[in-house]
C-alpha cells in the first residue's frame, strides 16, 4: 500500500513539470521516470528497504513520496541541462 501511495504521489508531482521548460533528460517521459523512481526509492530508503503494509500506511507515508519525486525530477532535469551544454560544446 505504501508503494502505491508513493507512486501516486510521484505521478501527481510529475504533472506539474508541464510548467517547466522541456529540458529534462528524455523529456517529459524522462521526468516521469525520475519522479516515479525517486518517489519509490526514497520511500524505500527511509523505511529500510521494506514497503509499509496496508495497516502501516498513513498520511505521512504518502508525503514521504514528495522529496523523492522532487529529487528524481531534479536529477533528470539537471542531467538534461548537462547534456544540452555538452552537446552545445561539441557543436562549437
Amino acid at each position: 500500500m505504501g508503494l502505491l501511495a508513493w507512486v501516486i504521489m510521484g505521478l501527481a508531482l510529475w504533472h506539474f513539470t508541464i510548467w517547466l521548460p522541456d529540458r529534462s533528460w528524455g523529456g517529459i517521459v524522462g521526468a516521469l521516470l525520475g519522479a516515479l523512481a525517486g518517489a519509490a526509492l526514497f520511500g524505500l530508503i527511509i523505511h529500510g528497504f521494506s514497503v509499509p503494509g496496508r495497516h502501516a500506511t498513513h498520511l505521512s507515508t504518502a508525503l514521504e513520496g514528495i522529496p523523492g519525486a522532487l529529487i528524481g525530477m531534479a536529477i533528470v532535469y539537471l542531467e538534461g541541462i548537462r547534456r544540452e551544454r555538452a552537446g552545445g560544446r561539441a557543436l562549437a
Binding site: A12, H15, I18, D22, G27, I28, R54, L63
Partner: protein
Amino acid sequence: MSDRRRHGFILLLVAGLVAASVVVLTQFKTVLGLDLKGGVELVYQAQRTPQSNVNQDALNRAVDIMRARVDQLGVSEPEIQTFGGNQISVALPDVTDQTRAIREVGTTARLEFYDWETNTLLPNGQTVASVLKTLPPGFAQNQGSLTPVQREALAISQGAGSPGGGSTSLYDAVKLASKQPAVSNAGCSRQQCARAGPEYFMFGAPGSKACATAAHDSGTVAVPGEQCLLAGPEQPTQDVTNAHTLFETCHCLPKGVTPSEGQVLTVPQGTVILQATSPKFSLNGAIPISSPTAQFYVLKDHVALFGTDITNPQQSTDQSGNPDVSFGFNSRGQNEFQKVTGQIAERGVLVSGLGTQLNQHFAVALDTQLVTVPQIDFKQYPNGIIGGGADISGGFTTSSAQQLAQVLRLGALPIKLRLISTQQVSATLGKQALHQGLIAGAAGLAVVILFLLTYYRILGVIATAGLLAYALYFYALIKLIPVTLTLSGIAGLILTIGVAADANIVIFERVKEEIRAGRSIRQGILTGYRKGLTAIIDANVVTIMTAFILFVLATADVKGFALTLGIGTFVSLFTAVMATQAILVTMGRSRLIGKPSALGAGKRRFAWRFDFMGASRYFFTMSGVILLVGALAVGGRGLNLGIDFTSGTRITASLQHRATIAQVRSVLTANGASNPTVQKVASKSLGPYVFQISSKPLKDANAVQTALQVKYGVRSFDSKTVGPTFGRTIANSAIIAIIASLLVISAYVALRFEWKFAVPVLIALMHDILITSGVYALTGRQVTVDTVAALLTILGYSLYDTIIVFDRVRENIPRMPRAAFSQIVNRSMSEVLTRSLATTSCTLLPVVALLLFGGGGVLGDFAFALLIGIASGAYSSIFIASPVLTHWKEREAGYRARRQRILSEVGHVPAFAAAGADVEPTAKRPRRTGRLTAPEAETVSASEFEQMKRDLELEEEPLAGRHTSTLTKRLAHTEPEAPAPAGRRTRTDGARRAAQRKAKAPEPMPSEETELAPSSQDDADAAAPAPDADAAAPAGAPDADTGPPAPAPDIAENEGVAPAAKSRPKSRSRNRRHGRRR
C-alpha cells in the same frame, strides 16, 4: 466477388444467423451460475503427496474423482474446474448444505493401515513394540515391577488409539515428532510414507497474549498452563529456510499476533501425527485439531496398506448390529494384509506373558485421524488374516459409515486438498441478482438505442438493428457453447453493448466526415467503413487480449466476465461492422438515405477549434491535483480491501423474525466468530430484517445459519469465506494480470504505431488506474475481485479512445509535412473529439444503467469502477496521452526544426496549421487478401462506373485515342471545378503548381528539410507554399475541415478505377510514414 454480391451474401448470413439464433434460444437452456441460481462453491488448493506431485494430470484425476463424488450427491450441472495451476473450484448449484458438501467432495479420503505398536512412538522416542518386548514375564500379575515407560507402552498398545490411552496434547505430539530424524525421499519411498515434506506448526506460550488472542478468535478459552496452536500445520510448496518467514507471509496467524510471539516446530518427513479415535466418526474429523480437548499419537510414517489395496467397500453391520464398513482386498492387498497381520500376531505371541494374552493391533487412519485400532487375536489368527476382507468399525452411525464406504469406493484423491474459500448463495438472493442484472441490461440497451436514434437518425436505426442482432447472437452463443452466466458475465455483456455501439459510432462519424468532405453518400459509406475499421480493429484487439489475460489468470468468478467480454467483442465486430455496412450499402440507392441530412451529415453546425495542446498545461495541473488528493487518500485512508484479498467471512442473512444487531452478534460469537461486524441493511426484496456480517474466516458458516434459523428463522442466507491463501492468490493474479495487460498493450501499440506512441498510452493507463485507486480510497468503497476485473477492462477500454486519437494523428502526419507536431495533434483532436465524446457517452450510458439498476453487489462494484475508469480513460486519452506524445515527438530533430522555422517566420506557433497546407499522402496499394471488411477496389462494372459518374457529378470528356480517359484521371485525382477562391489554395492546386515548378528547376533542399518533408519535397513545398498561408493563419480561420465541402481526393478507392501510379510516378517510389523517409 463483386461488392453487391458480397453484401448480399453478408445480409443472407445475418438473416440465417438470426434464424439459427432464434432456434437456439428456443431449444437450449441458459446455464446460470451459482450467484444467479444459488448453491455452494468450494475452492481448494492442492498439495503434493508422496504418491503424486501437484501437476495438471493429478488435478485432472482429482477432478474426476470429485465429479463422481458430486454425482453421488445428486447435484445437477456441477462445475468443477482447475485454475491457477494448483487450485480446484467446485460449484454445486442448488446445494444448501455446505458442510456436507465440504465433507464429501474435497476430503482426500486416503485410507492407511499401520502396524500400531511398531510405529507408535513413546514420549522418549522409542516405539511401543520395542518397549513391549522388554516386558518381564508375568508382568500382568506384577504391575509394580514395570517401569513408567513400559506402563506407558502398555497403555498405548491396549488403549487402541482412543483419547486417554496414552495419547498426548497436540503440542506434546508435535514436539515429540519434531525430534525425530527426517527420512529421505528415497527412504520414504521404500517405507511407503503417507505424507511428503515437513509440516510446520506455531504454538503460543502458556498464558501468553498470543494464546488469548487465538482463543478469542476461535471462540474458545485458552487452557491455563498449556501451549496453544497459533497456526499450522503449514505445508509449503517450496523449501523453507526460515520457518518464521513462512508464518510472516502465510497470513494464517490470528490478527495482531506476530511470528516472533510463537514457537515454530517442524515435523520432519517420515513422522506423522494422527488424531485419536473419536466416539463419533466424521469424515473431516469430529474435533478440530486446535481444540484443547483433541488428543494425538505420533507414529513413524510407515504405511502397510493404502486404500488403493481394498475393493468393494460397503456399509454393513458388525456382530452387535452396529454400523461398520466392510471391504475386500485386491491380490496385493491380500498378501500385504496377511503379512502385516501375521507379523502382528507373531509379536502378540512374543510379548504376551504367561497367563496373559496381549493382543497387538493395526491402525486404520483416514487422512489425519485414526478411525479404528482393532486387535489381531494371535490365537485365532496365528499366521495373520488370510484372504477375504475386513471390517472397520468404531463410532459410526449408519450415515457416516455410508459416507466413508462411498468415498472409499470412489477412491482417494491423488493429491491433498486444502479448502481455501467457500461461498454459499441462497436461491432468493440469486434470483434477485438475476432480476437486477436483466433490468440493468435492458435499461442499458434501451438508453444506447435511444442515444443512437437521437444522434444518428437513419444510421441510428441501422445501428439499432445491428445491436439487436448482436444481442440475439450473443445470447444464442451463451446458450449454445454453453457459457455459465454469472453476475460478472452479465456485467461483461452490458459493457459489450456499449462497445458494440462504439464501433458504430466510430464508423458513422467517419462516414459523416467523408460525406461532408464532398463524397457521394455511397462512397462516403464505403470509405468511412474502410477508414474506421482500422481503429476499431486496433481497439477491439486490445480488448480481446485483455479479456484473454483475465480469462487465463482470473478466478472462476471473473472468468465469466472475461469470456462474455471476449465473445461479445468478436460478435460486435461482425454485427457493428460487417452487418451494418451490408445494410447501408444495400440501402445506398434508397431514398431513405438519399440526403446527407438523413445520415446526420448535413452542414456541420459546430466544429472544434480548441487549442488542446496549449490548454494541456491546465489539464495536467488538474490531473496532478486530483492525483495528489488520491495519493493522500491512499496514504491516509488506505484502500478498503474486501475479503477476497484480506480473507474473512461475509454473510448476508435475511431473517424471518425481528432481531437486533446485538442479538445477531451474540449468535455469531457463540458460533466461533471473533469480533464480527454486523450491519442492518434495507432491502425491499429480502424483507425487513436483513443483516450483513463480516468477520475473520469462519470454520463453519453453516453452524451460524443453523443457529440463526433456530432463533429467528432464516429467509435467505448468503455466505462467502475466503482463506488467506486464496486471498493471496487473488492479489497475486491481479498484479500479474495488470502487468501482463500493460505489456501486451504496449507491445501492440508499438507494433501498430511506433514505440513512441506506446509510452503515452502507458502513462495514460497508469493515470487511469491510479485515479481510480485514489477515488476508491477517497470514497472508502470496497475493493473486490470484481473491481480488479473492472480495472483490467478499463485498461482495454481506455485505449479505445487513445487509439482513435492516435490513429488520426498517424493519418494526419503525412498530410501535414510542414506543421508542428502540436498543430497536427490539435487538428487530429478537433476531428475526433466529437467521436470520442460520443463513444464515451455511449459506453457510459449502459454502465450508469448498471450502477442504477444493478444493486449494490457484484454489478454495482463493476459499474462503479467502470464509471470512474471510463470517464478517466476518455479524459486521459485527450488531455494526457496526446500532450505527452506531443512533448516527446517535438523533441525529435525534425519536428524541432519545423517549430523553429515557424517561429522564425511567424514569431509564434499557431494552434492550427493554415488551411490548404495539406498534401495528399501517397496511397498504399490496398492488400486484398483476407480483408473481408474492406470494400472491393472499384474495378467497377460499366453500370457501376456510370453510377459513380453520376455520384461525383462528372461528365466524361469525349476524347478518343487515350489509354486513360480524362474522367479516370479526374477520378484518380479530383480537381476543383472552379478556381479556388483567393487565399484558400486547395491541395490539388498546390500540387499542380509544384509540378510546374519542378518541371522548371528542381531545387535541392536543405538537409534538415529533406528529413522533415519526407515524401516529395516538391509536394511539401507546394502544399505549404508560403509562410503566411501555412503557419501564420489565425486560429479562427476556416480550414479544410470547417470550410465548405471540397471535393475530396480519394486515392485508395480510385486506384481500382485508374492507375494512379502512372500519373504520379514519383510519389509511388516513396513510402511516407510519420514524416520520415524509409
